[in-house]
Amino acid sequence: MNSREIIARRVGQEFKNGNLVNLGIGMPTMVANYVPEGVEVTFQSENGIVGMGPVPPKGQEDPDISNAGGQPVTILPGGAYFDSCFSFMVIRGGRLDITVLGGLQVDEKGNLANWMVPGKIVPGMGGAMDLTVGAKKVIIAMEHCAKDGSPKILKKCTLPLTAKEEVDLIVTEKAVIQVTKEGFLLKELGPGVTVDEVKKATGAELIVSPELKEMEI
């Protein structure tokens, strides 16, 4: 199982029956493939769709039906379309249970940076600032370290923030870490990963949960 699959599988386990879920662009989108059996969740996308279904077979794409990444999707029976303003009323209004987003940095206060690297890349925040503020639970799904091996889980974010103190849970290929008032709580380890390996790859103190276990994926 590669890192991305580990992460996507583990994030899927956070979904509860009846949840309304928004998946960010990129890796978070993969989570749609790993909703546990028996759990029914509804996916929405901020471009104006609730009840989003899987990617259509090649050749059957409808140019008017896409997700927030611009990719063709489908809609399930019982789904609905709406405009962008309404979409964010759903997001900010307290009915969105979970948002899963990628991250560049997360710190122990639950701050998130994922929308720009000054002077290098400035894609823009899109809907991420609204999603993090609005969703009841914010899950960051990302590889534990940056490509150069530097930690992304930090004492304090150095990049411009997406949201202040909104992150609830971080899921990486190495660990599941909860943001608590006391700091980062290490709850689960990736397959075959040790506590020391996680500590070495993390730029902040970790409280090791007494109930620490390996991910069951």
Binding site: D64, S66, A68, P123, G126, G127, M129, V133
Partner: protein, 227 residues
């Protein structure tokens, strides 16, 4: 009083330096015919308000490539490398606005509101230079309305009075922008007679619409599952 118009009439309204809203989300629901016509006309120094700057060859991106935009007010530019290049080279000014805030600011502009208080962006760059207020122990940013001189929007269906129906996720910013501009032109895939759209089916009443132009390419109804 039919609002049916043509591309030339709409283009005659667009001048150098105009503030223009253009509907669409990553080119889904963007009036490509209007965008192409602006590229052809060569209007310059535009301020463009939209969700994003699309792609090099689709959506608002075409106006970036042709260097007709002085300033873009958008939520996302990551899908168009040329926007990033012009931004870094200071050839184009880009104001990045959180998507939900952009939608609310356009709505406020359309609905005569002086602004809205949103929790989005508190503690980030997005709050810089803006007034903050605490309501019921929670912090909010005051975001001001945006309006444009011209809105160019895309509809699936229009009647001759300008009543509009949008389709699927091509709705996005289109109805909001239709309310927030002095002159609203619609590129419609289908134009029908007055009375053919049920009053409960109308997503944007014609009172906001000034001109309707039939989209150049016929609606691909096989692909779209019929009108």
């Amino acid at each position: 009083m039919s609002k049916i118009s043509d591309l030339k009439t709409v283009m005659d309204r667009i001048k150098d330096g105009n503030v223009i809203m253009i509907g669409g989300f990553l080119a889904v629901g963007t009036p490509e015919g209007f965008v192409d016509a602006i590229v052809e006309k060569g209007t310059r120094n535009l301020t463009v308000i939209g969700n994003d700057t699309g792609f090099l060859d689709k959506g608002i991106g075409k106006l970036v490539v042709s260097k007709q935009i002085k300033k873009a007010i958008v939520s996302h530019v990551g899908t168009n490398a040329e926007t990033g290049r012009q931004m870094n080279a200071k050839e184009m000014d880009v104001e990045l606005v959180p998507q939900g805030t952009l939608a609310e600011r356009i709505r406020a502009g359309g609905g005569g509101l002086g602004g809205i208080l949103t929790p989005t962006g508190v503690g980030t760059i997005a709050e810089e230079g803006k007034q903050k207020m605490i309501i019921n122990n929670k912090e909010y940013v005051l975001e001001l309305p945006i309006r444009a001189e011209i809105a160019l929007i895309k509809a699936y269906k229009a009647d001759k009075k300008g009543n509009l129906v949008f389709r699927a996720t091509s709705r996005n910013f289109n109805p909001l922008m239709a309310m927030a501009a002095d002159y609203v032109a619609v590129e419609a895939e289908n134009i029908v007679e007055v009375g053919e759209i049920d009053p409960d089916e109308v997503m944007m009443p014609g009172v906001f619409v000034d001109a309707i132009v039939l989209a150049k390419q016929p609606a691909i109804d096989e692909v779209k599952g019929g009108a």
